[in-house]
Symmetry: C2
Amino acid sequence: MSKKQATIQDIANALNITASTVSRALSDHPKIKKSTKELVELKAKELHYQPNSIASSLRKGKANTIGMIVPRINRHFFSNVITGVESVLNPNGYNLIICQSDETIVKEKQNIKTLLASRVAGILISTSIETVQTKHLEKALNMNIPLVMFDRVSDELDVNKVENDDESGSYDMTCHLLSQGYKTIMWIGGPRTSSIYRNRYKGYKKALVEHNLDESGMPLFEGNNDLPAAKEFMTKYMETKQLPDAIFAASDLMALGVIQALENAGKKVPDDVAVAGYSNEPFSAYINPRLTTVEQFSEEMGRSAAKLLLEEIKSEEEELVPRKIILRPKLIIRESTIKKH
Amino acid sequence: MSKKQATIQDIANALNITASTVSRALSDHPKIKKSTKELVELKAKELHYQPNSIASSLRKGKANTIGMIVPRINRHFFSNVITGVESVLNPNGYNLIICQSDETIVKEKQNIKTLLASRVAGILISTSIETVQTKHLEKALNMNIPLVMFDRVSDELDVNKVENDDESGSYDMTCHLLSQGYKTIMWIGGPRTSSIYRNRYKGYKKALVEHNLDESGMPLFEGNNDLPAAKEFMTKYMETKQLPDAIFAASDLMALGVIQALENAGKKVPDDVAVAGYSNEPFSAYINPRLTTVEQFSEEMGRSAAKLLLEEIKSEEEELVPRKIILRPKLIIRESTIKKH
DNA sequence: TTGTAAGCGTTATCAG
DNA sequence: CTGATAACGCTTACAA
């Protein structure tokens, strides 16, 4: 219909007042008469006025937008973190621009670029699996754009962080397996260049050492964190080698791959071999056997990260003392690791 | 570090040229000398120049941003649609602002408001379960902001749409159940105010009628599309009534709730009763029994919707002839509905 | 309580 | 090939 969008100027003209008065009226400035406020509201409706937050952002130098970068949006863990983030941001008047790095450093750099160009008020990021250098992230800091890292963090960067205590989650799981009487525990994980898998491996190793077991004697697989990789590895492994007592996969997806391989080979879980996962995917409670795993409280992680970011945005102080919030994961014991007698 | 962001003006001053030249150089205007382009690039790097897309958007009257509204981001279906959308939008230079309506009309209206204020170049929406009126969506159309509906669409609005052929998916499933010899088929679904469930029910009914069965004789449950609702209903149902031959749940989550209730009551699937779901959630292939369901091609839906939107944005024509893309879902037959002899 | 005026950083237009 | 100028729509000192 209307070729041209109505502006505050149009409202002002129609009411024989000035744009500044309209602006103040619309933002509920205390020193504007109630009557003019009402007039303005009315005329705004009449002209189908829609505020232009681009103009507002330009003038104010900041957008009411937060940028968020995750490796993949369709991972249960990350989509729940996003839900947590939104639940904090929206009530505070912020919008979220979501970007996916697809686990590549190239797209991650691209994402940062567009977020900086959009002059977002802050950035939340969980880095890609390829990310080791952090120069691109430092650009944000140089522009005084607050940045909070979550889940996958970088030690080099001195910023607010929210982490899962992967080491302790993994440690707890390994202790559980040992307490069930399993002696040889195979490790299956993603690349240890990522803080996630590095820490989970650390916890696994720590538990073994504490129980006087030599981790170097245990079989190990390190590959893509997905179902096919784990399934393929396990299938091949069984062709030549003996099964361990238990298998600890650093993700539920990998655990599922392992279970499928075992099933195909006619092996029973947990009778022939116990299998544990990590991260409590929605399916884990429902597969056969029900999968022992570690719950990560993803929404809570999103809320914490968003809160840290908002604090940082609100505090005008130049010097930030970076905080680190560590969320303690929870062991969830199900059928797949329970020793039968 | 740098208190102030460098602007094209700063670059211009440093090189004794004008801002317009810098602007053109940076956007690779054909009529700018190669040498000045290089000088500009260099100085831009030196000054840590970051383009300001807010200013650019204001000047150009449009943002390079697309808004997307989904009921819930952490639903497998929607996060995959988003992935599909991004895969088309990003290569075309568009960013995505993602909003969740949380299945409420109130939040959906709020979402529209912020997207309009951000002057997004277009909107992709799958409406909330509460949405029946569409006045808020018409605002976008009045502002000449292209809008594409996907999955959950509204008949009242004359816009581009991408739909799943829920009726045919549901019809195929019902025919499959009938062909297995099941005579009484219970319907379990979400509210039929939503086009989704209305169409799925239609397909179910159509198949029954074609087989000379009276749908009014079949047991039915209509409630929240989630696991607990279905589980609770089923548990109560069994207390007083006979089981049907088969149960067709309009979502995998509801199917899972049903299976759990049956399991708790000591009933076997599919021996005592067959169970089918809809939408092929990631867990469905792995639960016990493996769930017969309908695959929806969610990423494809995202890609189609995004392409339609881009076309509409690019075409300057005032009058749009709305198109409707209908994606044909695919029946996936697994253990949970196979009759044993 | 309201008006005046300047400016946020870009880009389109016109001119040369 | 480049420069000058205005404008996008809004906010905010400062003034009245």
